[in-house]
């Protein structure tokens, strides 16, 4: 008897396996190797810091995708939870001097609690109405941060000096086999390890019962209730988990940047997260990471090579019609528009197409 084709899935359990096929396992191994090796190869501090920020946004975006992509609840309030995470870190890690293993979970817990307070709004409001109410959250939050001076330092902002050691490893200065690695290298490992952990957690969550329930709620919440899914509970649950993850992202953001001020947790940050989730593709974990890379690293790329475009003013006081800095913003906008016109399902859509092509190879038509 001939061996079954590599893509043949014969039972449900097999279909649900995370890294079932040899290709997926190889991909996982490749990603892990990249994660470990990249900071050693790319020693450039600029790209490392860009990638650290990309990793931090990827964590937050996975959280938002759980809420928006899997549970169908649009939130423009993500910036609020990210800010909360950063401030909790400033307090727990900085002022109390607690170690990484404590302040990171504390930030997650604080975010989760805040999510539990906001979540019930989702029971009453739907769709765009929910989106705009969570937008209100950003403004109310900003007011809180400006006035709650004990925690946030008010308008002057606060420095975040949280220790980042895990056992013998200090991510500010990793010493490994006689080599000393810089802060940017150390943070790259820390942040991207957390991206991997959060991605795995969420991936696991969505392929189990709660995950299927979330998707049922997203697709039609009343139908979900009819078949026995307690929609309200899952909506609040999704808010809690997503906010907890957002706070983790905020904690990383604060500890990496070492200074945060209320001006940062604004609507633009929330919009950026929504952009990542949409550009990456709703309802895919991998898409959130791709989206974070796209939205985070693309401006850096444009910035790096923008001055190669002819007729552009590359410095203040130079020649040219439009300055390279303004052009960078415009190119970013144009790329987003073009990209979504060509592929409305986002980067994950392209990824799926490529995958489908190779899956059915050599009969890809």
């Amino acid at each position: 008897m001939a061996k079954p084709h590599r893509n043949l899935v014969r039972d449900y359990r097999q279909d649900l396996r995370l890294f079932g096929s040899p290709a997926a396992r190889a991909g996982l191994a490749a990603m892990l190797v990249t994660l470990v090796m990249l900071p050693m190869v790319v020693q450039d501090d600029f790209w490392l810091s860009v990638l650290v920020y990309v990793g931090i946004t990827a964590v937050g975006a996975i959280g938002l995708n759980l809420l928006t992509g899997y549970c169908g609840q649009i939130s423009l309030g993500h910036a609020f939870f990210i800010g909360a995470g950063a401030y909790v870190t400033g307090w727990a890690g900085g002022e109390l001097g607690l170690p990484l293993v404590l302040w990171l979970p504390m930030a997650a817990l604080a975010g989760g609690l805040l999510g539990a307070v906001i979540g019930p709004f989702a029971l009453r409001l739907r769709g765009h109405y929910l989106a705009i109410v969570t937008l209100g959250l950003v403004f109310v939050g900003e007011h809180l941060w400006r006035n709650f001076r004990g925690l946030t330092g008010g308008n002057s902002g606060t420095s975040v000096n949280a220790p980042v050691s895990l056992g013998p490893i200090d991510f500010n200065r990793v010493e490994l086999a006689g080599e000393v690695y810089s802060r940017n290298q150390g943070y790259f490992w820390l942040v991207w390890a957390l991206v991997a952990i959060v991605a795995l957690l969420v991936k696991n969550l969505v392929r189990t019962r709660p995950g299927r329930a979330l998707q049922a709620v997203r697709d039609r919440d009343q139908a979900a209730e009819v078949i026995g899914v307690r929609a309200g509970r899952y909506k609040i649950g999704a808010f809690v988990v997503s906010s907890a993850i957002a706070s983790v992202a905020g904690a990383l953001f604060g500890s990496y940047q070492q200074f945060v001020s209320p001006d940062e947790w604004n609507l633009l940050l929330s919009i950026q997260y929504i952009a990542i989730v949409i550009v990456g593709g709703l309802g895919t974990v991998f898409g959130s990471i791709l989206g974070a890379v796209f939205v985070g690293a693309l401006p850096a790329l444009i910035d790096r090579f923008g001055d190669a475009i002819p007729g552009v003013r590359t410095s203040v006081g130079g020649e040219g019609f439009i300055s390279v800095f303004a052009l960078n913003q415009a190119i970013f906008g144009v790329l987003i528009v073009l990209f979504l016109v060509l592929e409305p399902r986002g980067l994950a859509g392209i990824w799926l197409r490529i995958k489908a092509y190779f899956k059915s190879w050599p009969f890809s038509y």
Partner: protein, 298 residues
């Protein structure tokens, strides 16, 4: 009492501006089901076009307003024609994101043309005032209120009596049925974008004609108008006007009585009052004051 009335007048003027912007949101949302994040960008574009017509081409202010609205409408309709038409039938998220992309494009284009400096629009209103019964009314505020009223009346007449207005209502109600009746959905979408852009331009010029002048950050007002749109109900033009006025009055009155009544809640409470009011109203009426309730089917 004078102070109270003065604050109420400020609230009305502010509310009228919100109403104009919110009306733009509603027109697009009602016909296409998309929140247009680029509304603030269109507003800034309209205001700068008005500046060019008024200051550089030295046209009369009324003519400048009219031309700016027309030009903005062309840009709006053009964007719909070139980009958004390709997105018909695609997930609404992608379309929302495209409007965000448009915002990212508009901002640098505006600053590349007009620069970052504060500009003063040549206009007949400035800081002139009219006094009546001990109250001081800014001419600019009176005009803003008057123009908004005129626009709103014209707007409702257009939807009620003109064939195109009817077509737009039908398309909003049921696009497929409208198509089956031979109504061109494309024209309806283009017209709604044109109307929204013209409304934004009008609001923009009215704002820029004040003593603050014109700077690229003028588009931020669109964010402040979100609550107005939501409070009234996203698909209700009447609601947008009502919401704008409610939000404007609430903001101005909290501001006026901040020291006496709201000092316990921290400084500057008035900026979050619109949002809190919005949350409270939505908890009571989840589809806004005048919005249509979704019929939920299993």
């Amino acid at each position: 009492m004078t102070a109270f009335l003065q604050n109420c007048f400020a609230g009305l003027a502010l509310g009228s501006t919100y109403a104009l912007v919110a009306l733009g949101f509603v027109v697009i949302f009602k016909s296409t089901g998309v929140i247009n994040f680029a509304q603030g960008g269109l507003l800034a574009l309209g205001a700068y076009l008005g500046y060019t017509f008024s200051n550089n081409l030295l046209l009369g202010f009324g003519v400048a307003i009219l031309l700016a609205c027309l030009a903005a409408a062309l840009v709006g309709a053009g964007f719909e024609r070139i980009v958004l038409r390709r997105m018909v039938g695609q997930p609404p998220f992608a379309v929302i994101m495209i409007t965000i992309g448009l915002l990212f494009i508009l901002e640098p284009v505006i600053t590349a043309i007009w620069g970052f400096d504060n500009l003063q629009v040549r206009n007949p209103w400035n800081i002139n005032t009219v006094e009546l019964g001990g109250l001081v009314f800014g001419v600019k505020d009176l005009w803003t209120i008057g123009l908004t009223t005129a626009v709103v009346i014209g707007f409702f007449a257009f939807f009620k009596y003109s064939p195109l207005g009817l077509a737009m209502r039908v398309t909003a109600f049921d696009p497929e049925a409208a198509l089956a009746q031979g109504i061109s959905a494309r024209r309806v979408y283009a017209v709604s974008w044109a109307i929204a852009a013209a409304l934004a331009a009008l609001a923009g010029i009215a704002m820029a004609a004040g003593p603050g002048g014109l700077s690229p950050s003028i588009g931020f007002i669109a964010l402040a108008a979100f609550p107005a749109m939501i409070v009234g109900g996203m698909d209700s033009p009447g609601g947008a006007v009502l919401g704008g006025l409610v939000i404007g009055l609430a903001e101005a009155l909290t501001r006026g009585y901040q020291d006496q009544l709201f000092s316990w809640a921290g400084d500057n409470v008035s900026i979050i009052v619109p949002y809190i009011l919005m949350i409270v109203i939505l908890l009571i009426r989840p589809y806004g004051l005048l919005g249509t309730k979704d019929v939920r089917r299993v």
